[in-house]
Symmetry: C2
Subunit: 249 residues, 2 copies
């Protein structure tokens, strides 16, 4: 059904695409243990965002799967075989039927015996335009008593490349959650002429909110990107805090 | 009197010096049009900080001179001839007599027909251990009606090198004011093993406070530097907001 045409960082054309005013829909999902329910919910929210005028729609990190390292393998999909990947198939279908660009948060990706935390990007014709594998996995140190413990690298392999993709909504750099902690990634996207830098994320209250408030503001300021008409903005998508769809631009 | 031994970024030894617990004195000065008064005030505050137990004492940007581009030449001093440079001579003398390390904010430096915005660092024996020339000059764009206008590069030449200096209080990276806006400088200092990164600064209310609150927090977080015992911190010194001497460590 959908064709696979993954664009690498290196091959992104230097001619930066035009940007026009558009509305961004940022979807937050309450993930369940039922993959089919997660897919249904995501599709419903994407449709709601499009009905409110969004032409660029974003999902959060690991939206098809509970954020638990022991479940990633069970929920993983093969990006090279979209017809057998129900989460990717839905994104391709809904992007095409609604004519929107989707930054598909992330889902577990399986490839050659490895798992990755990967973000698919679909264009309005249903094409998989890019995928970004999370580069900086989130391994917490020794937790404080009563705090959450998490070591993503127990099950997930790290991506090795930045990802820039040219879309109908401009040039977009992709990071996933903890990727935002490393300024050099956003700096490289800015240097590549990105109009937007999107970080689908999922975090908990003990490690996330204060850091994210700081980091997303900083990535915008440090890269001279101002959240305003036609200018570059740093976007972030996370699970619990944003309204289902907000006008960001 | 004082010897000149300026240490460059390149020649900083890879063996990182030890750090022990110490108190930092951050001095804020209200600058006048009288250079001698500014020197007297700075010396008084350095002495007050030392009397409160500070062994590392910091001054703000352009502490000997009103922050006006047309006055920089008049107040400038030659770092290669400290005996004829009253601001530097005072810093050398007071560092030696009190046995403290001084990050001497900045003063206008004259060298070979050029002016620089330069930070001297004096050790407890009165030695000029390093100087940092401000790399990122502050040129404002077209101001809004009623806003301040400022173009530092009208009179000042930009420095070309990062500055790391090993002191009795640990390895210190130096930036001056607008240098904080560029994450790569602090990242390079962190990579060089700096325990502290100090940014003497001077800003006005229309361009400064909000940005500085963000930037100093971010430089600390992004470089894994936590304001805590014996750990790296990002310090900033500015004119109007901090108490004359505060215990930062």
């Amino acid at each position: 059904m959908a064709t696979v045409a993954v664009q690498s960082f290196v091959s992104a054309p230097l001619q930066v695409p035009k940007v026009t005013q558009f509305k961004i829909g940022i979807c937050q999902l309450k993930v369940t243990t039922e993959k089919s329910a997660n897919i249904f919910n995501a599709r419903s929210m994407i449709q709601a965002a499009a009905e409110q005028g969004a032409s660029l729609i974003l999902l959060p990190e690991m939206w098809n799967c509970p954020y638990s390292t022991d479940l990633f393998a069970k929920f993983a999909e093969d990006f090279s075989d979209i017809d057998s990947a129900p989460s990717l198939l839905m994104l391709s279908e809904v992007a095409s039927s609604l004519g929107v660009t989707i930054i598909g948060g992330s889902i577990p990706e399986k490839d050659a015996g490895q798992l990755y935390n990967s973000c698919p990007v679909f264009g309005p014709n249903g094409e998989l335009k890019a995928k970004h594998r999370k580069i900086h996995l989130f391994d917490m140190g020794k937790p404080l008593p009563g705090e959450v413990q998490f070591k993503e690298s127990d099950n997930i392999s790290a991506g090795e490349k930045p990802t820039v993709v040219d879309t109908d909504c401009g040039r977009i750099g992709i990071g996933i959650c903890h990727d935002i902690r490393f300024p050099e990634l956003a700096m490289s996207y800015s240097a590549r002429g990105a109009h937007l830098v999107c970080y689908p994320g999922a975090f908990n209250m003990s490690t996330g909110a204060t850091l994210w408030e700081l980091e997303q503001r900083t990535r915008a300021v440090d890269n001279q990107v101002i959240p305003c008409y036609f200018m570059m903005i740093v976007l972030y998508v996370f699970m619990w805090y944003l309204a289902p769809c907000c006008e960001a631009c």
